[in-house]
């Protein structure tokens, strides 16, 4: 029997059918030809004649090739393109790929574990940060139609307050004159001493306009909110927050209608807000525990120079923020003309509530989100590397499947399914990581971030995780998949599975991956470096006092019981005397509004012998009322003159201690001691005060801002701004004295609330919490990136060394020294790393600009940071290629050559 198979094979050659299909057709057609041949032989012909006859008929119209081409090749393309009848197969294939992929992953546990871990870290970090972004930035505030809620501020930029708390008279005019807001509500921070039920305690809260709750669209859990007629002096009603109601009244529903003693007066509780009621954001970090009506007194309502309100407003439907701003600008201009003494250069700012809430953290979160994105990219690059190396190992398998008729597109799909599967597992583990991560995050996320404690993994986070897992799988699966599809079957089969031709392309991809890993980690490290640098700058800033060994607590005297300086002084003096004698106490003092706890009360002053400045030239001075010994206790150096002492009484000379900056401002080049000033205008009734001392400047509420002008008054000589904080310098751990000191205060007045017990160090560290938050997180992510990149470089270099074992063996056989081999290998790694560093450098120069707002004291292109990070990264990278290089050096030429 002649070999018809070979004849058919020849005719099918140019069709490039899949090997399996080709085999099948040849089989079937050759049988047919054999049948014809046998049939022919039955006539009187020779075998040769029969053979030729069959071939003749085969080629009769020269149709076989073209016809088969039309059926096999073209329709195949058609059906893939349109989907059509192949659809069911696609899904069947997917299921098969999925099961196959799962088996492959189970069979290589080490590979799978490493890849899943890398991906889980990357995806977990992304999910965790995204859940923060989701809660803080994306989740709408829990009020009715929150987009229409605005905060309205005064703009006193010329005084250093671009966002300033408005005065009551201005607020009342705004409310009456505007046509853009559905309603406006004023709030004023206030603290309340609760007495007559158990231990006295101080609660923070706000006086609010009666319409505040309806403006927010918030319903009480019990009782009701305020009625409009309650917004007038003399009404004593209160609404409790959920926390205060639970803690102090045991969640007792009969609290409604009961009277409680606040600041020595009886207030009727009319409502309790639900747990879900989220606090209304405030100018600083004020926490509301209860509310009373703001009820401006007739005197208060006319105050235009006393700025202490926070204003919430709701836009009328259809009014935009811009329209509101425009109208408020007009009103501001009108008020400036009407009341030049107070309102000259005072503008109005309408700011969306959401922006107010997220404003100070938005930049940091976006940078962090970018950073974790980079971490994930590096993880992708690493896993892609692993997959490439594995693809090389799996060449035999690929060749076999191709030979058995798998199409290249099918193989590509198989590889993608495997990588997506890997990413999905990574995503699942990552989600677990992120849940743990969120709990860790919550412990040090600054509590100034709204809703920080309600951060959870919700549906949006799940969808986000799913999406990035899929995208991740496709990204890192693409490289190995394209490599598989460009795989040369013949070469591999011929070379018996040895890594060859196709892998030079693989090497190129691997090199690219290393370069990008280095570049990305460089950018991250620069970001982290800049933040760490800023933070160090921040911590090295001199706050103006010594924060160590300082115990602080709030002691707010109720106004009813202690209405003036004469009645307050005995309390202060007795507490100071008793605390001073406690063991472990070095010194003790009272002061008003400690640094970093309050923006500071400020008033403008006039100088004796000088004309009063024009209204827009007035300079405000932050004023703090203190007891003698305050400077010593706080560790504020006295530069000139003296501190207040026990001899400075109500009726002795009225005194003032000023800061260096104040001295320079009002008496440049002069000795300020003995000069006289007074709060308010020179014609006011308050007495002139003589400067007796000059102390160092202290930073007030913002670590980043320069200290403002400040002055100190003696508590015995001032009625306003009563000291509300006790500071104790201790020789032992400050907090160990807390209970004793509090008990001592209660010995003096058993009803006096004591709150906010804390060390000064912790207050200062709170002041930089936001910066620390960004720094720590970015630092963690950058470290993660560095480790991942190092692992990636190490992986690629070891792979390359393993691949080149024979080449290295030959080189050594030909006389290369071990050091040459070492140099060659390290240089190879170094070349990749340096390329990555250069690219990273360029990208970092562009990208770190977005961080400018987070930086302090360093520029976004700080050369020292850039230089040191370049060194760190290069060192790590060289180390990562040094270890494989050491292995290369130990290659035994004989062994290497023999293993060929």
């Amino acid at each position: 029997m002649p070999d018809f198979k070979e004849e058919i094979r020849k005719r099918l050659a140019q069709l490039r059918l899949s090997p399996m299909r080709e085999h099948e057709i040849i089989e079937e057609l050759s049988q047919h030809l054999e049948d014809e041949y046998e049939n022919s032989l039955r006539g009187r012909v020779t075998e040769e004649e029969a053979f030729q006859a069959v071939l003749l008929r085969l080629d009769e119209s020269n149709l076989l090739g073209p016809e088969l081409n039309r059926v096999e090749v073209q329709t195949a393309q058609e059906s893939t393109a349109t989907g059509g009848e192949r659809k069911s197969n696609m899904f069947a294939d997917l299921g098969q790929d999925f099961r196959y992929g799962l088996r492959m992953l189970v069979r290589a546990p080490a590979f799978t574990t490493i890849a899943v871990l890398a991906l889980a870290l990357g995806i977990g970090a992304n999910s965790a940060i995204f859940s923060v972004v989701n809660t803080v930035l994306l989740r709408p505030l829990p009020y009715k139609n929150p987009d229409a809620l605005m905060m309205v501020w005064e703009n006193a930029t010329h005084l250093g307050f671009p966002i300033n708390t408005p005065s009551p008279a201005n607020f009342i005019d705004w409310r009456e004159q505007n046509t853009v807001f559905e309603g406006m509500a004023a709030m004023a921070q206030s603290s309340f001493n609760l007495t007559d039920v158990g231990e006295p305690e101080r609660f923070t809260g706000r006086r609010v306009s009666a319409n505040l709750f309806s403006l927010l669209g918030a319903e009480p859990q019990l009782g009701r909110t305020f009625r409009p007629e309650e917004d007038k002096p003399g009404t004593r009603v209160a609404i409790l927050g959920y926390g205060m109601w639970q803690r102090r009244f045991g969640g007792d529903a009969s609290i409604i209608g009961r009277a409680i003693n606040l600041n020595g007066e009886l207030y009727t509780v009319v409502g309790v807000m639900p747990k879900s009621f989220v606090e209304i954001p405030s100018f600083d970090n004020w926490k509301d525990q209860l509310w009373v009506p703001i009820a401006f007194s007739s005197e208060e309502a006319t105050q235009r120079g006393n700025h202490f309100l926070e204003i919430l407003a709701r836009l009328k439907p259809g009014i935009t923020r811009q329209q509101a701003q425009a109208e408020m600008d007009t009103i501001a201009a009108r008020l400036a003309q009407q009341y030049p003494d107070y309102n000259t250069r005072i503008g109005i700012i309408v700011k969306p509530l959401h922006e107010q809430v997220v404003g100070n953290i938005k930049g940091a979160l976006i940078v962090l989100l970018g950073a974790v994105g980079f971490v994930l990219l590096i993880a992708c690059a690493n896993v892609a590397n692993l997959l490439l190396a594995r693809a090389a190992v799996r060449q035999k398998e690929i060749a076999l499947r191709l030979a058995l008729g798998a199409s290249r597109s099918r193989l590509t799909r198989q590889f993608l399914t495997e990588s997506v599967l890997l990413a999905a597992i990574g995503g699942g583990v990552g989600l677990l990581f992120s849940i743990v991560g969120i709990n860790v995050l919550k412990t040090f996320i600054p509590d100034t971030i709204s809703q920080a404690q309600s951060i959870t993994v919700d549906g949006k986070v799940l969808i986000f995780t799913l999406l990035i897992s899929l995208v991740t799988g496709v990204i890192f699966g693409l490289a190995p998949a394209t490599q598989a599809s460009s795989f040369n079957l013949n070469d591999t089969l011929k070379e018996g599975g040895r890594d060859s031709g196709a892998s030079s392309r693989g090497n190129r991809i691997r090199n690219l991956l290393v370069i990008s890993e280095v570049a990305i980690s460089f950018v991250l490290l620069i970001g982290a470096g800049l933040l760490i640098n800023s933070f160090l700058h921040l911590r090295n800033l001199d706050p103006g006092f010594r924060a160590d060994h300082l115990l602080t607590m709030k002691v707010v005297l109720p106004e009813l019981k202690y209405p003036d300086k004469q009645r307050r002084a005995p309390f202060y003096e007795e507490v100071l005397r008793r605390v001073r004698s406690l063991p472990g106490v070095e010194s003790v003092a009272f002061g008003g509004n400690l640094p970093f706890t309050y923006n500071g009360d400020s008033i403008f002053i006039s100088i004796e012998g000088r004309p009063d400045p024009a209204p827009d030239q007035q300079v405000d001075v932050v004023t703090r009322v203190v007891s003698p010994g305050y400077f010593h206790t706080m560790g504020i150096p006295l530069v000139q003159g003296r501190d207040f002492d026990e001899q400075d009484k109500v009726d002795s000379t009225q005194l003032v201690v000023i800061t260096q900056k104040t001295a320079r401002h009002f008496w440049p080049g002069e000795n300020p001691i003995g000069k006289r000033l007074k709060p308010g205008s020179s014609t006011s009734e308050s007495p002139w005060r003589e400067v007796v001392g000059v102390v160092k400047d202290v930073r007030q509420n913002d670590f980043l801002a320069e200290p403002k002008l400040q002055m100190y008054l003696a508590h015995t000589q001032t009625n306003a701004f009563a000291p509300n904080a006790l500071v104790v310098r201790t020789t032992v751990d400050p907090l160990s004295l807390a209970a004793t000191v509090r008990r001592t205060i209660w010995e003096v007045d058993k009803d006096q609330p004591v709150s906010d017990i804390d060390t000064m160090e912790s207050i200062v560290s709170h002041a930089v919490a936001r910066q620390r938050f960004s720094m720590v997180l970015l630092g963690v992510f950058a470290t993660l990136a560095l480790v991942l990149a190092a692992v990636g470089i190490y992986g690629v270099m070891s792979y390359s060394v393993a691949q080149r074992t024979r080449e290295i063996g030959i080189r050594m056989a030909l006389g290369a020294q071990r050091s040459d081999v070492l140099k060659m290998t390290v240089m190879q790694g170094l070349k990749l790393v340096l390329t990555g560093v250069v690219i990273g450098l360029a990208s970092a120069l562009l990208l770190t600009r977005v961080m400018a707002s987070l930086l302090f004291g360093v520029s976004a292109t700080d050369p020292a940071t850039f230089l040191s990070i370049s060194l760190v990264l290069t060192t790590v990278a060289v180390l990562a290629s040094y270890i494989p290089a050491l292995r290369a050096m130990k290659v035994d030429p004989m062994v290497a050559l023999r293993c060929q």
Partner: protein, 114 residues
């Protein structure tokens, strides 16, 4: 048969129906199908390898027939084609179409029904 062009077009148009008809009753292999066409048309229609198999493959791709390798005792492995349910429907439709067509042609040309 008339001109080669007409013959080719007629063959092409009818070939699908012929094959579907032949595998309607029972599965047959390619050689058998070719033989039957030649026999039953009394030699008027002949398919060679180059035209028959691409046609079979096309019908198979369309899901009208399905080929399966079958080993029978004493014979070698052959690929048998049988009609699928979808093919059965197509076959019925095509047969009706052809019947109408042939009748129409007969009416016009006066060719008597065989």
């Amino acid at each position: 048969m008339a001109s080669p062009i007409l013959e080719r077009e007629l063959k092409k148009g009818s070939a699908e129906l012929l094959i579907l008809s032949l595998v309607e009753d029972r599965p047959r292999h390619g050689y058998e199908i070719g033989q039957l066409i030649e026999l039953r048309s009394r030699g008027a229609l002949r398919f060679n390898v180059a035209s028959l198999y691409p046609l079979l493959y096309r019908l198979e791709k369309r899901g009208w027939i399905r080929g399966r390798w079958v080993e029978k005792a004493g014979q070698r492995r052959r690929r048998y084609y049988r009609l699928t349910p979808a093919g059965r429907k197509v076959h019925a439709a095509q047969r009706d179409g052809w019947r109408e067509f042939v009748e129409a042609i007969s009416l016009i040309t006066g060719i008597q029904h065989a």
